[in-house]
């Protein structure tokens, strides 16, 4: 998929290779490609005067992509240069946690098999995967939506009618009485939770993690007990990781601290979730920040439900963070449940 995304930069009947990038750059804009475990984004930020040109370019991007031996080699060369970042969890553990075997491979490795793919195979791959019925267009513009939407429809309106195929690619969490365990190289006893897809779960994970990192040592805990939390962010395959240390019973330490979020340290947790909601307002202030945040939302359904309007509060995901927590939302409940985690042990 990653190499395919790069190949899709090689132009089509309307654009020369990297022609869309040139269009954006010549107008003073910036464009980039963001590749995650289950989402690819083509991002462009342009002056408002260039909106119609960019809408037209996006309406052409996925049509009849140019595929030749030369462009495929060029795409492979570009893909090899992108090294990505080191995974926060061992790959095997990430695959098991998200129940997604594809995560077990290094997506940045460009093997010989890819180099041997024929032009026809590449074209078939692109025609199957990079299609408009799987894509979502996000436009953040200074004009109100009722002025922008007709311009979007005018550009994309000529596409043949098709049932929407986009589906929720978020990992699903499951809770048992005790965490699943996996022994693998790189395991140190850390506990990992799959962050459910969507914006609300990501915000809850940030609030939980920030509070865990601030919680003070309790009198009944071993004197050298430590617990650190981090988030390996990904739009669809995000992971919350807790690393216990200095405790004879690490699970008891984790359970105890998670329980304190809704009990003795509730005030701290409330303050952190309010802070996170406030910070989000700053993060989405710029068009690029807003567009990236909206891209975290689930696709707008399949078939006839695809065009359903959704309230802004749902798209932003902050309603729960600012609520009084009368009932625990499911996105938060799964993060507080040790049984939903995967414990990664050494071999």
């Amino acid at each position: 998929m990653r190499t395919g995304a790069v190949q899709a930069l090689q132009g089509n009947r309307e654009f020369a290779p990297h022609g869309i990038a040139r269009l954006v750059h010549d107008g003073g804009g910036v464009t980039q490609l963001a590749i995650g475990a289950a989402q690819i984004r083509y991002e462009s930020i342009v002056p408002a005067s260039l909106l119609d040109d960019v809408l037209w370019a996006e309406a052409q991007r996925l049509r009849a992509p140019t595929v030749s031996e030369a462009t495929w080699k060029d795409a492979l060369r570009m893909a090899r240069r992108d090294r990505g970042r080191a995974p926060a969890l061992p790959r095997e553990a990430a695959a098991a946690l998200h129940m997604s075997p594809g995560l077990g491979h290094d997506g940045h490795a460009v093997g010989d098999a890819l180099g041997k793919l024929g032009v026809r195979a590449v074209a078939t791959h692109l025609a199957e995967r990079f299609t408009y019925d799987r894509a979502t267009l996000i436009v953040v513009a200074p004009d109100p939506p009722d002025m922008v939407l007709p311009r979007v429809v005018a550009r994309f309106g000529e596409l043949p009618a098709a049932e929407r195929k986009a589906r929720d690619r978020s990992g699903s969490a499951r809770a048992d009485a005790a965490p699943r365990e996996l022994a693998t190289a790189g395991g140190t006893g850390q506990l990992a939770w799959a962050i459910a897809g969507g914006v609300a779960a990501k915000l809850w994970a940030e609030a939980v993690c920030a509070t865990i990192n601030r919680i003070k040592h309790a009198a009944d805990e071993p004197p050298r007990a430590r617990l650190r939390c981090s988030i390996d962010d990904d739009v669809r395959r995000g992971t919350m990781i807790l690393k216990p240390a200095g405790a004879d019973d690490p699970l008891a330490l984790v359970r105890g601290r998670l329980a304190r979020l809704l009990a003795s340290d509730r005030a701290m947790f409330d303050a952190e979730r309010r802070r996170i909601a406030d910070e989000l307002a700053l993060r989405v202030r710029t068009p690029l920040g807003m567009a990236r945040w909206l891209a975290r939302n689930q696709p707008a359904g399949r078939g006839r439900n695809a065009a359903a309007m959704r309230p802004q509060s749902e798209l932003m995901g902050t309603a729960g963070l600012r609520s009084d927590l009368g009932s625990i939302p499911p996105e938060l409940a799964s993060l507080l449940e040790v049984g939903a985690a995967l414990r990664v042990l050494g071999p």
Partner: protein
Amino acid sequence: MFFRRRHLALGLAAAAVSACRRKPTETVAEVWDEEPVASQAEALANLAPPWPAPTRGLLDDGLITFWLHEPGAVVLAVRLLLPMRATAGRDAGAMAVVAEALRHDVTRRIGRRAGVALVHGPDRIELSITAPETELAFVISGLQQSLLPRPTSALDSARDRVVAGLAPARPEEIAAALTLRTLLGPTAVHVDRNRTAALARSDLARAWTEFVDPRRAVLLVHSGRPADRGKPELRKLSDQWRSAAGRDRIESATGRLHRPPQPSGPATRLLSAPTTTLGIVTTGGPGPAQLVTGRVIATPTARDRARARLAQRVLQEELNASLAIAGDHAVLLVRSELSGSGGDRDVQRLVERIAEFAQSRHPRQRLFEAAQLWLGARVVEASLTGEDWTALFANAIDLADDDGAVAGALAADAGAMLAIDGEELQAFTKKWIDPRTGEPGWAWNAAGLTTAAAERLGRAVELAPRTLGG
């Protein structure tokens, strides 16, 4: 322009030949010399933040403020503009130390809840602070504390940090500093490690008093609350931060931030009478030898400023050219690398290329594309850096004739730039950019040359040895 076009095969013979041995089709650039589409030009000219009329204030302590109100904004942006123009007897190192002391103290006081950055503008520093809108009182209060005279120990520490962070000057920096000194008089823009390390506490304290002065400063605030609701905080700032320099205040922001009238610069041209000598420095830090040439361009009107910017944008497609506009004057610099064996040819070639550019008439399409790139990049950069209106407003002050024109200066600049045609720009470049037959006023310097390379260069042009210190 970006789209693939089908090429027609001409004649059977051509088709037969290409069937045997395929040659790449020669690309012929299309030249459009027509007016841009009106709607496109209009949309470009309107690229400016939708700011309402700013509220201008002149506080009791002499500080000029502009309050930019954006209803519903969740982010507060505060930008303090302090002119820092070196004068005779005031070392550039002292300015750098004052700027560092201010940045450090503001960061220490409010950095936990706000973003603080120091930005260098033309002849000034800009202290930029961004924070949640709710932090207005906290930010202004912290800023006010930091603007009070610094203890000498704080200035000492700042000097040490500046000196520790100074890398050996690269040839390009040396050549640019020497050229600017020739053009602008004693504006010693180069910060010298030894001179900065030797600055006495009394020098630093005097520099602080001179530069951190409300009678010379301008404060920009971009806030979600109206100006009236920010008055109490500004009043406290005015009560505490007083001028210690005891000089007359300048009544307008443009007057404070625009360059003062220039002393008569060098009445010389490059490789043409009256000719100037080429200043050379045979030492220099790492990197290849560099030549920097430049001149001051008079930009008394908004149209002149737009012409100068457009000329630089087109020129920089071919050469490494930069332009700093600050009101009535702009400084153009062109940088070029000098090869060790053919420096004399490089010098001749550079002057030829600049002159060739200046004498050429550029098609309308090229001008429109250059303007589109410049105007678009200006707003995209502002968006990427947080939709901070104060950054663009500071830029607008440089482009405006007076304070009343600042709010509309970006739009006026865009409109003027898009209206310039090939003949108008050609007349401008012939006068200001041609180093051989245009207005005199050129200077140049080269640094990082070996002795042998300097000797070879001496065959093409008269040399004058220079040092940064003198």
